[in-house]
Subunit: 298 residues, 2 copies
Amino acid sequence: MEDTSFYARLRDNATLVNNTLRFLLTKSAIGGISGELKEALVYVLEAPGKRIRSVLALCCCELVSGRINHNAEIAAAAIEMVHTYSLVHDDLPAMDNDDFRRGQPTCHKAFDEATAILAGDALLTLAFEILAKEIDQSTIAVGLISELAEASGPAGMIAGQMADLRADKTTGNEEILEYIHTNKTAKMFRCAAAMGAICGGANQQQLSYLCEYGLKIGLGFQIADDILDVSASSGQLGKTAGKDERAGKATYPAVLGMKKSRQLAKKLADEAIAALAPFGEKADILRQLALALLKRTK
Amino acid sequence: MEDTSFYARLRDNATLVNNTLRFLLTKSAIGGISGELKEALVYVLEAPGKRIRSVLALCCCELVSGRINHNAEIAAAAIEMVHTYSLVHDDLPAMDNDDFRRGQPTCHKAFDEATAILAGDALLTLAFEILAKEIDQSTIAVGLISELAEASGPAGMIAGQMADLRADKTTGNEEILEYIHTNKTAKMFRCAAAMGAICGGANQQQLSYLCEYGLKIGLGFQIADDILDVSASSGQLGKTAGKDERAGKATYPAVLGMKKSRQLAKKLADEAIAALAPFGEKADILRQLALALLKRTK
């Protein structure tokens, strides 16, 4: 039986992220953004994303402090902006060349390539702008900006995307796959957990448990993503299915086979859950999240 | 007669920027950057840029505090990273489609388009990372990040580039040109002056004079750039000359003619110099800079 209260909480948190994003885009202190560029930003941010990374940040703040505070809302919006920028740029013809994302044409298809490049640049810049301007303590702001820049930068997500572009299933092995998925995806999950924890005032130990949890579910999430690319339809995914396989990409199913990939995803979820032990039952939503990511169908 | 001590000081400051960039790229706290991505970052950052924006930041710090401090060096490097990212992305085929920049093939020509997109993304992210990690006071770091994100973001440089892509000389008028040049170029000059001033501990009045100065020389700089596109050779410029005219771009010479463009650039330099009056002769280097930008041949 599906745990409806769990999914309802995820949905509520995703709604909070969407409302924060909408508020920030219209807020004059952030913006003065206008015209086609604003249309493109609204288009990509309003698309129905899963908001998993940003919801993770909100959950970690709540776990540590008992509630979702203003700083966590801003941090979640910044994470979503960076994640969305990465999708917009990754979908470009020179990169993964995708036409379909979050159930709608990709940004460069709905607008044009130049607009998509600039919209991605804008989202990345805005993420840091809102952290600098909207977080209510400068030491916290600086901590959040450090985490986000490190995870999404050239020693994180960008390194992962670069390696992903170069790898194919003939040269890919488990070590390369782990490098790609850790950098491209897991570090941003780890970062989301860390940012939420920092907003909640976590101590060093709490921060380190939640980072461990984030890294593990991030890696598991990407393996599940690889599996879904093989097993789900484009309609389910909201993006082109079967694309990795046709492109001869190095994915977990291509390198390890489906069975071993599923086992590995399960092992990572177990390890993520183990990292939550010190939090007791307060961390149940994160346990459910780890298991839900295994079972997801989109 | 050329003022050799003025040019020697500019060169010394540019060398300081280059050394800081080199140090930051190899520093392990920043990086763990490797492979082709690192090669591309080194390629674009080591290219012989004029470093005007970053040197402006150093000069403003020195004017206000009597010396160039550590924070100003970091701020200057961040400004140069953001400026370089903007060149790498603007040169892409989907944007201005340039093959030649700073005297060498553009990033997407020397590497490929995907690498150029990612290298640009990496530089933008790194700029914020170094400000968050290397500035020695979090309130100053947050102030610098706010300034840089606002100037380079969707209500600044990105808006300018977007408008520039859409404008041509048949539809361009003086108002549109001022919008483009203010956003695309002048706000980053203003930001460089502000960041330097903040690092030097400027008071509100000093900050406001230096912002005024930066905005005026930035606009003048871009007009001079338009004029050079018509009057200089590709060899002099280190980028393709005559390109704006052939592309039917909305430039100052195309819309106002050469004579009026030169007059306007001179007027802006005069206004910039007027804003420096409260600083007395300590600001002579900035006065010389305003005049030098008018006379530049590359």
